[in-house]
Symmetry: C2
């Protein structure tokens, strides 16, 4: 390298001239000094100047015509100023919005160890163009893990790696067809983001009522192309799908030919007993299981999976498209090793204990300080529903915000066409996100906000409907 030599001087001159043209100091049309004289002025070789001019001509900054010398091109436009974005308000100090683990709990050291192993041991081909279905090492590790922990019946060749549940839903909507193929049934309470994805993909959604036993599967329309369910822990209201309804949804699938799409978003985080196994295990040819590490490890990794019926694998891979969007092969190998080494189990176990302690603390604090509310949906997951007296939901969210708490109203999760029972006012309280030292103050602030909002109705229990009675499951 000769940064101090002719190459370095040429690069410096090119940079200086480019900047002068950019900034307008050298106006369009300006004739540059002949390179011999500039070379003499600068005390550098003529060739160096000639090379720099030639380069800038090739790039279009200068023009060079026989007889008229070298001039600044008149087509160099100044860039317009960057986009003016609306000023976003600073985030509230206490984040109780559901769905995200505490980013500070990411197991950096263990993940780095797995990355080191992956980068050291990977075969060379891992750095080539990959398989859109995903790395076989990861698919094997997932098949083993999901069978063991979630009762999933699958195999590496039935798993497709994707970047998360939303990516999976986009792919499925595309594979199953849009409006003509029929609508998707969705739970009347669910993630608006997921409903929006389907709508965007041209798929209409039909709400199915939800009660304390999960979705009322008998109400799934016969003509629906698919049903999107959260059987392990109805999202966000909280109960597991009752065994009879598990049977019911598979019966629907068999009779109608429809597909069950099981969003197993937090199946690992169950507190009352062992995790309820996935519906997928009961009928792997009619069920797609969607999972990801977004709740268990971090949404920043963008790694998810689909366990598919055999007949859908090739179609989903084709819909994924050649090369894009893949998940990085090195990250896939890292997760494969993280699973195989038991590091994933250890992390989930540690997080489960932590979430459970936070859930207990939330329930205890609210029971003591805001007796007008009821905490439900707490047997699993990273969030709970705080049921409120009728008509207080909006005021509660606003009061919480005044106390620095970001939290969402249950109404935001309700399907716009949901009918039947009136809406149960409530808050969806995510207890996983705040750092440990912030969780206590966050709960204090939440109680203060709720106290303020419910001040006039506190102590009254009228207007409360039981959204989520404890599941009437046949636990022995």
């Amino acid at each position: 390298m000769d940064l101090g030599g002719a190459g370095g001087r040429r690069a410096a001159l090119i940079g200086a001239l480019r900047e002068a043209v950019r900034s307008g100091r050298l106006a369009p049309g300006t004739r540059l000094p002949p390179y011999r004289s500039l070379a003499a002025d600068l005390g550098i070789a003529r060739n160096t100047v000639a090379d720099a001019y030639a380069e800038l001509v090739a790039e279009g900054w200068l023009t060079s015509r026989q007889g008229s010398g070298t001039r600044v091109a008149d087509r160099v436009a100044a860039p317009s100023p960057g986009p003016v974005r609306p000023a976003t308000p600073p985030p509230l100090p206490y984040d109780l919005v559901q769905g995200k683990p505490d980013p500070g709990a990411f197991p950096r050291a263990a993940w780095l160890a797995a990355a080191r192993h992956a980068l050291t041991e990977a075969p060379h081909e891992a750095f080539g163009i990959g398989d859109p279905q995903g790395r076989t090492e990861l698919r094997h590790a997932l098949a083993e893990y999901l069978a063991r922990v979630r009762g999933v019946r699958t195999a590496a060749d039935r798993i497709v790696i994707c970047s998360g549940a939303a990516h999976a839903l986009r792919l499925l909507a595309r594979v199953l067809g849009g409006g003509a193929a029929g609508p998707w049934a969705v739970e009347e309470y669910g993630l608006p983001f997921h409903r929006g994805l389907l709508t965007e993909a041209g798929v209409a959604t039909v709400p199915v009522a939800v009660d304390g036993n999960g979705a009322r599967t008998a109400e799934i329309p016969r003509h629906a192309r698919a049903v999107l369910l959260t059987p392990a822990h109805q999202f966000p209201t909280g109960g597991p799908l009752h065994p009879e309804r598990r049977a019911g949804v598979l019966e629907w699938a068999r009779v109608s030919g429809g597909l069950v799409v099981e969003d197993d978003y937090d199946g690992e985080f169950r507190y009352d007993r062992r995790p309820v196994g996935a519906v997928q295990g009961l009928d792997p040819d009619r069920t797609v299981l969607l999972g990801s590490v977004s709740k268990s490890l971090s949404p920043a990794l963008r790694i998810g999976w689909m366990c598919l019926p055999a007949g859908l694998v090739d179609r989903v891979v084709a819909a994924k498209g050649v090369r894009e969007p893949h998940t990085s092969a090195t990250e896939q190998l890292t997760l494969a090793g993280f699973l195989a080494s038991g590091a994933y189990d250890r992390h989930v176990r540690r997080m489960r204990q932590r979430h459970r302690a936070r859930r207990d603390r939330l329930a205890a604090v609210l029971a003591e300080r805001v007796p007008a509310v009821r905490v439900t949906g707490i047997a699993a997951g990273l969030h709970a529903v705080v049921e409120l007296p009728a008509g207080t939901e909006r005021a509660a969210v606003a009061a919480a915000a005044r106390h620095g708490v970001a939290v969402e109203a249950l109404a935001g999760y309700r399907h716009p066409e949901a009918g039947g029972r009136p809406h149960q006012d409530g808050l969806v309280v995510g207890y996983a996100t705040p750092p440990e030292r912030v969780y206590g103050p966050a709960l204090d602030a939440l109680c203060a906000g709720l106290g303020e909002a419910l001040g006039d109705v506190s102590g009254s229990t009228s207007g409360r409907a039981a959204l989520s009675p404890p599941p009437a499951g046949p636990s022995s």
Copy 2:
């Protein structure tokens, strides 16, 4: 942990019963022994058996009704066999298909060092839900790098991280609108994959003729919504876009209001002199620059970028969609550090030397052994075009395959509607992929195949047209 205790026994019993139902050993409808007697038989606590039954009922494997005991559910379907894929032929031993660096050349140690730094130093929020635009650290590092090396005029807030050029084209097609907005002009020789993406997105493509000075920009239709160009190194024929044509395409953009999409796929790998700067630097408000690490580092990482006019940033971010598909935040941080530390420059420099040596060897070997062909498009990149006598292209690809060489015909890159000059027969020879020890044998096999295919015309030069004369650039 009590794997040997009641929890472990319960888990073992659940696993064994599930497997028995799955495999059919316990047929649907079979009545299970009362848990008291099974507990006695197995010598374990009654509660353990009761818990296991309850769990399997909750999962749907068993049913439990008052009075009829616990039975195997009749709805557990056996999974159908996995997809039967067509047997893919084993890959040929010598891979001279363009577009991929040698996966064995990936800088594992340097990348791991960057990953370690990223995982250690990242702020906690890096493990939270990320910005769909991409990590700010990476966008800043890219803005600096692209200005320095490619003459790009951009800023971190104008860069959107994506998973590669294909992802970028899909996003742009969506943002600019489909058929109604007008077709895209594309070079008459180009990547069929890219044309296919646009077609799939509802965008028609119109071919623009290509000669030794790159695309004939005067022929870009006025009504085209955008033009997709490879100015640094026309893909795959090989020349840089002539300065007058650089001016021409920007003039087209100004007059028509169209967008220039600059696929800067291998701009760093130029061998005759310094890399030709990007067209983007001349008019950042009418040009989108697309780049990625797929050629420089590895396609397995799935990291690319778009440098956008200010007015397109928010629309592209919106088209990307919330959360999916993102690139992993840890990978983004790793690349940011890899760029900032100079490791990327070092790797590119090493690869440039290696590619150049391979290119020289290809040209020398063919000149000596297959004089009927001409090697062109070699001033840059990871591939060359081997021009063949007219009518020999298919035979050459087939003969190469017989000698174990995977290589592509130039015809495959031609736009189906390309008119004008007749097709120049040729091979697109990627010289970057084989491992070092395999490159010599690969060239030998290529020569053998070409000798076989051209045996009857060897020595004759009739039928050859000069597709790519050396650029008539004004390099002083």
